[in-house]
């Protein structure tokens, strides 16, 4: 242990002990809590505590993931159990303050669960359906610590991994440890993280960048923002360790502009790390130096693609670059770079601290560790769960999520974000595993799981997804720009009851052309939602085209016009794509649709890097 860290740890332990000496109330605030009314709850708490004359620490913590129970208030009184109160509307606050905080008697009627010691009539937190299969690594501190207090992070084992790396290991050993852990990219592409970091480590350039992608444009996914809000330090520590392992000196965290809470909390956390000697020159008294900053970008889904992200950091339009050169050779500002999703980097501190073997013991053979799933839609317990790979989708949706709130049958789960696919109810026994899911044509992506019950129309859902994809096409390459528009037009007329014979085949042809002709994952995967919907619910599409759809679809009002660079100055283009428009005139054979070595993966950067071809890299870390 370095001397500097020993001092930090000692201070943190003292602070933690002090914290336990008086009542500690943690309110799940952040974006998620605020949306459920936590602001009023906080106000009531402060007011009632003052009125009752009770001294207590109030911390605004990130969400625990139990979003259905928000506003969630977590009350600890010295000598008593820690109790979680669910749905604490301001009217319930006085009773909780007076009876529990002041008199030490938990209000069982409002309580959801206890943590640690048990109280009769209340389950332990671990016994809640939603917590049942969870193993928390990236979310280990979510809801537990105040994201503004670096001491609380350190007191719970934070920065021990960094300290271990700096004092007991060399860069190669750290890299080997990440490789051995089997950690794979959590942004969607599942590329082995250690191998990817190795590309950067192999580049002798003096200035190299570690980029962390928290762009998270995926509607339906909210795990990146949650990590930033609940525990920004784990990401910072992960970045520093990745920097040490690869010899990089700079880190950039990349967030969409407008997410004030996560951005502010991350900026503050970075500041705190500088103040504690955990960032800057001579980290923890060693010779290692690392700097970090937060970069913001405008609204753009494609900015989650790795090269588009670099363009956005440089302040340009977020349009993907051609590859090669790959980021490890030519990244942001032309310097070698490595991009990882926040969920990936957040696992790194614990891997180094506890060892690769520990991490490998969680999950399945080829998909080690945990996955974070965001549950929403027709589900009883919406929220965030971190589960080891190997659990089934059914366990997540039915056991942890509780299925449809009104007891209707679950029809499908939309996975993998707006470029992902559908999983019908009868396929829910699918095991959560990158390779098994890829073989079955399903995608876990960045973890958004949107559950639909039997009353929802697949055609309508598909149109909503394609409307999003069309709007977010960056417009750089025409197969995506025009293809998305064409798909949307066809879907719109099907939904409006004007479907034509041959429409489904038309979409298939357009989709096939998009797949072979697009530069990045947005276009290559753009047909995915339609393909997967038609595969499992083809009859519903055919019925809709024939005007015999069983589920009524309401007219759709979307955003105004094609948005990329088109609505400026009232110049919204009104031209529509002609129906007979096709990119290629010849019918395309199935094998042509596979990305080949020639299309997007010419070799320049070593054979290994082209592994997985255009698709893996293009979709890489698309969050």
């Amino acid at each position: 242990m370095t001397e500097a860290f020993a001092k930090l740890a000692e201070h943190a332990t003292d602070q933690w002990a002090e914290l336990q000496a008086r009542p500690w109330i943690r309110v799940s605030s952040g974006l998620m809590g605020m949306a459920s009314g936590a602001r009023d709850t906080l106000e009531a708490l402060r007011h009632d505590l003052a009125q009752a004359g009770v001294e207590a620490t109030i911390s605004e913590v990130g969400t625990t993931g139990l979003c259905y129970a928000e506003p969630l208030v977590d009350v600890y009184v010295p000598g008593g159990p820690r109790v979680l109160y669910a749905n604490v509307v301001p009217e319930r606050v006085p009773e909780i303050v007076e009876r529990h905080v002041r008199d030490g008697e938990p209000v069982v009627a409002y309580a959801l669960a206890t943590v640690g010691a048990s109280v009769s009539g209340l389950p332990l937190r671990e016994e809640l359906p939603m917590m049942r299969h969870q193993v928390r690594i990236a979310l280990r501190n979510a809801g537990e610590i105040d994201p503004g207090q670096i001491d609380q992070y350190i007191a719970r084992g934070g920065f021990e991994g960094l300290d271990k790396a700096l004092s007991e290991m060399d860069a190669e050993q750290v890299l080997q440890s990440i490789k051995d852990s089997g950690l794979r990219g959590r942004g969607g592409a599942a590329f082995p993280t250690g191998v990817k970091l190795g590309f950067l480590a192999g580049n002798p350039a003096p200035l190299k960048y570690i980029l962390c992608n928290c762009e998270e444009g995926d509607p339906g996914a909210f795990n990146d923002k949650t990590i930033l809000e609940a525990d920004p330090f784990t990401l910072i520590e992960g970045c520093i360790i990745a920097g040490f392992a690869t010899g990089a000196s700079n880190g950039i965290v990349f967030v969409r502009h407008g997410h004030d809470e996560p951005i502010d909390r991350t900026r503050q956390a970075i500041k705190a790390c500088y103040a504690s000697g955990l960032l800057g020159g001579h980290i923890l008294g060693t010779d290692f130096a690392f700097d970090m900053e937060v970069a913001e970008v405008g609204e753009s889904y494609v900015a989650g693609e790795e090269t588009a992200l670099m363009e956005a950091i440089e302040g340009k339009r977020s349009m993907p670059r051609f590859r090669p050169p790959f980021p490890a050779a030519y990244g942001v500002w032309g310097k070698p770079s490595n991009i990882n999703n926040i969920k990936t980097l957040s696992c790194v501190p614990e891997i180094v601290r506890r060892g690769a073997e520990w991490f490998k013991g969680i999950g399945t053979d080829k998909s080690t560790g945990t996955a974070i799933a965001c549950l929403s839609g027709d589900i009883k317990y919406p929220g965030l769960v971190e589960v080891p790979f190997g659990v089934t989708m059914r366990q997540i949706v039915e056991e942890m999520g509780g299925g449809d709130p009104s007891g209707k049958a679950v029809k499908l789960v939309q996975t993998g974000g707006p470029l992902g696919g559908l999983l019908p109810a009868d396929q829910l026994d699918m095991v959560l595993d990158y390779d098994i899911m890829a073989q079955a044509g399903a995608m876990f992506g960045s973890g958004g799981l949107i559950v639909c019950n039997e009353t929802r129309s697949v055609v309508d859902l598909t149109r909503a997804l394609i409307a999003f994809d069309q709007m977010e096409s960056c417009g750089k390459c025409f197969p995506c720009r025009l293809g998305m528009t064409h798909l949307l037009e066809v879907l719109e007329r099907i939904c409006d009851g004007d479907g034509r014979t041959g429409d489904l085949e038309l979409m298939e042809r357009v989709g096939g052309n998009m797949k072979i002709g697009s530069l990045c994952g947005h276009g290559q995967l753009g047909y995915n939602p339609v393909a997967s919907a038609m595969r499992f619910f083809g009859d519903e599409f055919r019925a809709e085209v024939a005007g015999e759809g069983a589920i009524a679809i309401m007219p759709f009002v979307g955003p105004q016009g094609p948005r990329r660079g088109a609505q400026v100055g009232g110049l919204t283009p009104t031209a529509r794509v002609k129906d007979d428009f096709v990119v290629a005139v010849h019918p395309i054979a199935a094998e042509d649709l596979k990305p080949s070595g020639g299309a997007g993966a010419a070799k320049s950067n070593g054979a290994e890097q082209t592994h997985g071809a255009a698709q893996a890299h293009a979709q890489d870390e698309q969050a």
């Binding site: 949306a35 509607p219 977010e472 955003p559």
Partner: protein, 209 residues
């Protein structure tokens, strides 16, 4: 996606600043950025946060500061849909149309609210009070359907609740306008008084600074 405080223009629009004032604000915003790395995009975001839109003065300011051409700056500004180029209405209402909200009935709320406001699609109300905007995802999917009122995100929205919030916002806006009018009137009166007393004072030679 805009939540929290950044999106709210910090310069009141009703004063309709003049061109040189806009330029001044833009310069100020560009110079005062917290980010270590300043780019065309970060500068545009900073100006947009301050003014609520990007006037042409801002585009030239960013071009001058960054050494890019106005065309290049315009190219970036027109690419990101969170930028607008005309002064915004006084209050911003966003409706999430992400797939979760869509599944849970966002279209009902959107279309009901459009009717309530007398609009056909996302736009500013003619009186300049409200901007109704679609948001691709407000990021609170477990609490869908979601909306935000002046960047205050609200979950579990129904059409009735949304319409009530909108009405309250309108009432609050009328109060604000009245208060602003009072302030403006008293400032005008003060200025008139100052001008009158200045006219009484003996004339001094004007200095150049």
């Amino acid at each position: 996606m805009t939540t929290g405080s950044t999106g709210a223009p910090r310069v009141a629009q009703q004063t309709s600043p003049q061109s040189d004032e806009l330029r001044h604000y833009a310069d100020e915003a560009i110079a005062g950025q917290p980010a270590t790395t300043v780019t065309v995009l970060s500068s545009l975001l900073a100006v947009h946060d301050l003014l609520g839109y990007l006037p042409s003065e801002a585009l030239s300011a960013v071009a001058e500061h960054s050494g890019a051409s106005v065309n290049e700056v315009w190219g970036v500004a027109s690419f990101y849909p969170n930028f607008r180029f005309t002064p915004p209405a006084r209050h911003l209402i966003e409706i999430c149309w992400g797939p979760t909200c869509h599944v849970l009935g966002a279209q009902d709320i959107l279309q009901g609210l459009l009717k309530h406001l007398g609009l056909d699609h996302e736009a500013d109300t003619p009186d300049g009070t409200l901007t109704l905007k679609l948001n691709t995802c407000l990021g609170v999917c477990p609490h869908a359907p979601a909306m935000s009122f002046d960047h205050d995100v609200v979950g579990h929205v129904t059409l009735e609740r949304a319409a009530r919030r909108v009405d309250l916002l309108r009432v609050a806006d009328q109060e604000e306008r009245r208060a602003e009018q009072l302030v403006a009137d008293s400032e005008q009166a003060q200025a008139a008084q100052a001008a009158a007393s200045e006219a009484d004072a003996p004339e001094e030679p004007r200095s150049d600074d």
